[in-house]
Symmetry: C2
Subunit: 341 residues, 2 copies
């Protein structure tokens, strides 16, 4: 690779026989330039293999064409969560569609918040997308203080510093979806419906439990067991529930992974699904749902679309000038009936 010097706009203009300004106009869409010249410039661009210099452009436009995705310490494991991969894919696709780059910021310790804040304050990115899953997280407070437009994935827990902040977020209707799931089970005539709850320091875990309680207002609290959104934790919770209530006839798990773990334990203990025990999950994650026997009935949320929405929300806010976008988006869920309930 001889590593030729990269051609500048100047070179393109010269070759096309126009001024730098005209060449610039063409490169940026070509509005208000005579068709003939547009063609000549386009040709020159192709021949020279011209690629605009991003730094130069940013310097004058004050637009970076880049968005930060911030992942905070306790959540780094969410990389292992297929949920997150899907959302990230949605984000990536939508960003690409908007000619923006994805800058990944991983926050490790609490000291890192300073570094992140400096980076965000440094104007390297036009906005940020963040995942603030846990109660203790300072991220909403940090991004607000720095004053960079930010959209959160999942409703942030409103406690601690910045609890009063109205941060824009994208989430699905966790509570409503949970209600649908439990109502479906009840509609099947099930009498003892248990719940394997997700972590209670995340809104998704909290809201789904709330939805369960909405329907089973005066249910037996011992029909609720605590899980951690993993298959193993679902299995453990199921075993617990079975010990306490050998006669339970339905389970609503806080997510598909826990449902999968529950299914395994139920079958090990000789329960037929759905005859003896009906099971409903949450998420409709293909990689999980397609590998259970029987196929899992679950509450569907469009995770990838939620990722895309985060980007759209951010960019629409960016476009209409400063200031955060206080509107959030709550997406509908849908009960998908399969074989397990």
């Amino acid at each position: 690779m001889p590593d030729r010097i990269r051609p500048t706009l100047e070179a393109v203009a010269a070759r096309a026989g126009v001024s730098r300004a005209t060449a610039s106009r063409v490169v940026n869409g070509g509005a208000g330039v005579r068709e003939r010249l547009v063609e000549r410039v386009r040709l020159a661009v192709d021949e020279l293999g011209y690629v605009p210099n991003h730094a130069a452009r940013t310097l004058v436009t004050r637009r970076n064409g880049a968005v930060a995705v911030i992942i905070a310490e306790p959540e780094i494991r969410i990389f292992s969560d297929p949920f997150f991969s899907l959302q990230l894919r949605g984000i990536s696709r939508e960003l690409t569609a908007n000619d923006s780059q994805l800058v990944l910021l991983m926050v490790e310790g609490s000291g890192d918040y300073d570094r992140i804040a400096r980076y965000l304050a440094g104007g390297h990115v036009d906005g940020a997308l963040a995942f603030s899953l846990h109660t203790q997280d300072q991220l909403p407070a940090v991004t607000h203080k720095v004053g960079i437009p930010t959209v959160f994935g999942g409703r942030p827990v409103r406690t601690g510093a910045g609890a009063e902040l109205a941060v824009p977020y994208v989430d699905c209707d966790n509570r409503g979806g949970a209600r649908d799931a439990v109502r479906h089970l009840a509609g099947l005539g099930r009498q003892r419906i248990a719940h394997i709850a997700g972590p209670q320091d995340q809104t998704s875990g909290i809201d789904r439990l709330d939805g369960y309680r909405d329907v089973l207002a005066d249910g037996d609290p011992t029909l609720i067991a605590q899980g951690a959104f993993t298959a193993d934790s679902g299995a453990r919770a199921m075993a617990e529930l079975l010990d306490r209530h050998p006669d339970l006839d339905a389970v609503f798990a806080g997510n598909d992974l826990m449902a999968k773990g529950a299914l395994r334990v139920l079958q090990e203990r000789g329960r037929r699904i759905p005859e003896d025990v009906a099971v409903v999950g949450f998420d409709d994650m293909a990689s999980v749902v397609e590998t259970t026997t029987p196929l899992l009935t679950t509450v569907r949320q469009d995770i990838e679309e939620m990722g895309r929405l985060m980007v759209r929300l951010l960019i629409s806010g960016l476009d209409r000038g400063e200031g955060p976008t206080p509107d959030s988006v709550i997406m509908e869920t849908e009960l998908v009936r399969r074989a397990s309930a």
Copy 2:
């Protein structure tokens, strides 16, 4: 947020009563500037909350302070692999230590290679880190063609386009590690040692199988079953092996996740571990190894360190000028004895 205008170097210089050039020198380390002035400039920087404008700096230095991490389509699921999270963490930490940003590029379809190539050619990043796990992948060819310094994670499979390329990569000694595992099992006196192999279109899967064969040169090929690096696939493979060889007394699984699945099936079928069947995994992934009963004996590789090494390799190549860095790094592995073998 009043969104004050960001102070420029000019402002810092004025406040410190020096020239812009001197202010610049201080901001960039302060070599060759009298101590008194250094102090004054530093003070001004603090008071004004000055943060250098990255675009302006890049424009003149031709250094981006950013590295792309490229993840190709078939591998997007590797987000679900704790292996990848760990490596990414190592990458992120080392990049941070080098004041560089991580730009995430996700390649979706084959059409995307064009977009990626354009981006890389556009000089937005100083170099790239890529994961080329599968045989068909064009990534090594693409990055080479574009001429951007690139380091791969895991030895790329050398077939198809660009098979002849000497691409620098960081990997562990998969083959040697596998040999250690199998020798350990043999040393325990095991006679019928099975192997659950990883995908044979990835070098890690291939090399570990080769290592197994190195030790068991004339072993029974039906003692080998095919897995896909997931727990479920490990369980399936184990069931297969048990059907074929009810008398097997040891299993070397291609990774910890498959070992975990195998463990479950072995126990369901009444085998005691390690008395009846000894099991060894590969990776020493904390999240897996700590959750098996009994605790898993496995081959350890320092995944996070491999991530860091990828960055160091890239940056050292960058520093000593153009041209790719043809040296690769193969890290040692270590057998970690626990309860399962």
